[in-house]
Point group: C2
Chain length 389, copies 2
């Protein structure tokens, strides 16, 4: 009966791991969690995870209970961060992929006899000894190996037939979550890139650089982040905001590209880019397009009610549009335009703050100020060198 209870517990635990991992949508957190859960489950002292890219394994996660208590985590990570190696039978993880099987090494002192080369310099440097090791291939549901999980210094029972069976079972749960996470990540990346490119099309006409769209959508996301601390909301803003000016595509060239001052009538036509944008994005069933429509329609409304197209006031303006209004104006101010020099960012910040309660929602301005350090990074010229000293 003890045995049965034991198995029931293990089964419950297996299901629990599956659920826990499936709930993590952020890919780096998911990777961390996979290693952590597998370490808990097997009582291993340490674990690491590699993601396969073609014929290479990229190092993604390193955890070690003992070392983390002795040495700051960053200095461990620094030591091994950049490792990426070719898949071949010389390394343990490489062999695990190449031969498509778990490699179990109960006694690491014999690892060279087994034909593997093993770098002991990290152990030596950190005053640690890797005594035993399991290297487990992670396969997607189609059977392709997408990564390798490595566990070190495990209890004896992990190396029994039954122990390995359990490791295999939990690794399968982890691999499903990983495969889903990677798929979702790729799909989202494709979606964002597609949105950027197609949204650029409206700006293409307007002769603005495509960078405006990318930057203002990221500024919007940072503001959203400071305001709500809800990653789903921030992501929605990131994806929906690039489409804010899509309606400009319908504005005739001779008005949109007019170098001089617009007549009142011409300005009325320009204003229609908000309602036309809403039409293009309207009647959608998806959350993304619903939010995109609100932003396109209302990003020129002002908090004090003096904006267009409807002259909405305060909370009548959807929050998403209030956020994008700040990001759009900020990016326009710090950008060079044919008719104006770029403002220094700090001047633009001052202007934004001065418009609290007038053009902009005070709370959104506060969130903008809170996020300013992250925002300003977007406007720094890329540094020439990334190499460490």
């Amino acid at each position: 009966m003890k045995n049965k209870q034991n198995y029931q517990d293990i089964m419950d635990r297996l299901v629990e791991i599956g659920l826990l991992l499936a709930s993590e949508k952020n890919i780096q957190k998911l990777l961390d969690r996979i290693v952590e859960e597998e370490m808990n489950f097997t009582k291993a002292e340490g674990g690491s995870l590699y993601i396969r890219k073609g014929n290479y394994l990229n190092f993604m996660v390193f955890r070690n209970r003992i070392l983390e208590n002795k040495i700051p985590r960053e200095s461990i990570l620094k030591r091994i961060k950049k490792s990426r190696f070719e898949i071949n039978e010389k390394s343990i993880a490489g062999a695990c992929v190449k031969f498509d099987r778990i490699i179990s090494i109960k006694d690491m002192s014999k690892v060279e006899e087994m034909g593997f080369s093993y770098d002991r310099s990290i152990d030596k440097e950190l005053g640690y000894e890797t005594k035993s090791l399991l290297s487990i291939p992670l396969k997607n549901p189609e059977g392709e190996i997408i990564g390798v999980l490595q566990l070190i210094n495990l209890p004896e029972e992990s190396f029994t037939e039954e122990g390995l069976r359990l490791v295999r079972a939990t690794a399968a749960q982890a691999a499903i979550a990983l495969s889903n996470g990677l798929l979702l990540d790729e799909l989202k990346k494709a979606q964002l890139d597609t949105i950027y490119r197609l949204a650029k099309v409206a700006e293409f006409k307007d002769r603005e650089t495509g960078d405006h769209i990318m930057r203002m959508s990221r500024v919007s996301m940072f503001i959203a982040d400071s305001l709500k601390h809800d990653p789903d909301f921030s992501e929605l803003i990131l994806y929906a905001s690039p489409m804010h000016d899509i309606g400009k595509v319908a504005i005739p060239d001779h008005i949109l590209l007019k170098p001089g001052k617009l007549t009142e009538n011409e300005f009325e036509i320009i204003k229609t880019h908000t309602t036309i944008g809403a039409e293009i994005l309207g009647n959608a069933e998806t959350k993304l397009l619903k939010v995109a429509r609100k932003i396109a329609l209302y990003h020129h409304e002002k908090f004090d009610g003096t904006g267009y197209p409807e002259g909405l006031k305060g909370d009548e303006i959807p929050l998403e549009a209030r956020i994008v209004a700040v990001a759009d104006v900020f990016d326009a101010l710090v950008s060079k335009r044919p008719y104006k020099a770029p403002w220094p960012p700090d001047e633009a910040l001052k202007y934004i703050v001065s418009q609290k309660g007038k053009h902009f929602d005070p709370e959104v301005v506060n969130a903008f100020v809170d996020a300013y350090d992250r925002i300003i990074e977007l406007y720094k010229p890329p540094t020439g060198s990334n190499s460490s000293p």
Copy 2:
């Protein structure tokens, strides 16, 4: 030892179910498979599945081993297809959602005593008896109920504590797969809708109806389907083809919208919509945009080498562009334009076939002909009534 072996088998089976379900990316197939696997696992005679939409349960799958041997499946499905009901404690599935727990009924003759209303008309009509039932909530990893799995006529042991524990475990695996499938589906739907709307923007200028883009992308998908029978390839064509004319956004209005015949010089400018499209979609890392770029660049090439912009011939033209070329011309022919009446579809078909080896790749034309019955459905006016007689 027997017991242990038994549990090991169950655990392996649990992992196997998780993998099997995770591998199914088509949502309707996944739903079918969930019911089938759960029926196999529990040895239930029948099973059904409901998906939750707000406060309603939508009927999605019905399976029954006994009935399927007696009555054609379609006539069973017809009988119950449209059922959708409000979630409340009166129905078994509703109560299962409302009280967030498995409802197990060992003896269905007592179901009314338990306070449920149960429609026996289907049983009577089909000459069947529902004797026992399990109704299991399917929860996403965030703990929200996203559906209900119902199993009927199960063996005694399913109603023991242990039996229910196993059902719960497999249902959790199913729910993870379902939740991932729904998420992926929603994301893809949002992506396709976004692509359609943004791609329409180029056509917006061109005064073509947005329907052109939707129809030609579906025609392209059907051709791809006939040609390769690879759902991933077909889906890629569906998503990438709407962007084929995106470069038109950069063509000045007075040329693009000119009512009369274009001068040679003006036509040279029109031609640049292919290379400009490729520029807009270029330098991407995602498969979708890479394929979209190829299509934008090469959809005006002709199989005999007389097309533009590069005058490529035969296989030099990417397959994706050879497919879209056929779909684009076919849709243009059967559509009304300011300068031409719509062709009858069969005339357009004849023209396409006559261009085998000239404008079009013969194999793509053959695939078009094979898919013609599906394609022609897209051009039928929607029927007035959907109600059954």
